[in-house]
Amino acid sequence: MEFFFQLPLWIQATAKGLAVILVIFPLAGMCSLAERKVSAWMQGRPGPNRAVVPWVAWIPFLGKFLQRLGLFHLMADGAKFLFKEEPVPGHVNKFYFIIAPAVALLPALTTVVVVPFGAWFDSAGALVPLVLANVDIGIIGVFAVSSLGVYALILAGWASNSKYPFLGGVRASAQLISYELSMTLAVLPVFLLVNAPGGKGTLSLVDVVAMQSGTSGWHGAWGMMIMPLSALIFLIALFAETNRQPFDMPESEADLVGGFHTEYGAFKWSLFFVAEYAHMIVGSAVFALLFLGGWNPLPWVPLASVAGWLGLTGLPFAVALLSLVIFLGKIIALLFLFMWVRWTVPRFRYDQVMKLGWQTLLPLSIGNLIFYALAIAWLQPRV
């Protein structure tokens, strides 16, 4: 580790950037496969199970298993995106049309940086988070950058110069900004608790997990238990922010064909696709950090205790790996929830989306914030 930190900063940043890209892209691809398999499973059909590379098919049992798993559909899809003809329709505004997918990917790739995804303990026993940029602004960074995502939808919708994408883009922007308010307001109580009298005054996500790493009482309970309403509002807003069903207004296949990306195809469309899944992954990660205890395996059972029981105290890499596995497990569970809800809850109508956002979630989150501000100021949990 030491020699890496002695490299020039730009090499470090590039290496980290490549690492993120190499993790996010395959993960997004896996998500698309999982999405298809989970959908198939919920609807009682086999799902993708045809594509196979010939020489893999010759392996007994394993080849058949991999084919049934649909693993090669993933590669076939990726190859298809790269090798298809990429038409740029004649009626679009070329510059914005081409730049929109890049804008879509930008917030997804940037927010990953401030999200800690694991931790280890140095020789002094202090917690060292695994994070690409350990900044004290944490959650503001996430909100500030992720809200840029709305520009991609507007640009794509407007530049397409076509009615369906245009309507999709306008709807998308109104939906995203509506739910962003509730999302921010729902997160604030968590930081009120972190910064309760006696705390140190921070917006870092690492400190939120540290708060949930105790062994007894409120110190160690997951955010979801202390603030169930915040967690619920955040989760609903997360569904809306990532344009997932039941909030798929921007795409709404039923009435707008494909919404803002109707006119896109091939590689540019795949960037939108990756961006959506990357948003889901980052959103799940933030939810896990704020409300599900981050890398702590169970409420009141912090990572440090488990590492002690397993005899991993002196092995930083083993602890880091353990925390990473726990955290990834939570992310995968949340991604499954996304897919589960997709096939459980029917789509909303647009007026229902707006009503839920402005007339239910926003008043609830303001009331929630006032309640917790008063409760924390009165109970003084840290003192």
Partner: protein, 123 residues
């Protein structure tokens, strides 16, 4: 690790801008040399479910969207003031808390006003 932690954030922003642009560029070159586009009248046309498109695409849309945008702007700025409040909460005197509560009630009052005026009803 001596640099300011925000420096890596800025550098990463550059990577995040650069990578998709580079990928789009590579894809463009690939299509230029190996898969030249074959435009046709139907491919170039506006997609409207196979029906011949009518009228301009940059159509009029509901002004109601603007109302939501304005409301969002007001609330978002107010929410921005709440984040420093969360950071300063650790050493906040009771008077400041009361002031902040009044501020939050103003936020709520704005919502009630918009609600009462019917701006939140999608028709």
């Amino acid at each position: 690790m001596s640099a300011h932690p925000h420096a890596s954030l800025a550098l990463f922003l550059l990577v995040a801008v650069g990578f998709p642009l580079a990928a789009l560029m590579v894809a463009r070159l690939w299509f230029r040399f190996f898969q030249p586009a074959r435009p046709g009248a139907t491919k170039q046309d506006v997609y409207e479910c196979g029906v011949a498109p009518t009228g301009d695409s940059w159509i009029q849309f509901k002004a109601h969207y603007y109302l939501y945008a304005l409301l969002f702007l007001v609330f978002d700025v107010e929410v921005l003031f709440l984040l420093p409040f969360a950071v300063a909460f650790t050493g906040l005197p009771a008077g400041a808390l009361v002031a902040m509560l009044a501020f939050m009630l103003l936020l709520a009052e704005g919502l009630v006003w918009a609600w009462h005026r019917g701006h939140l009803d999608w028709s």
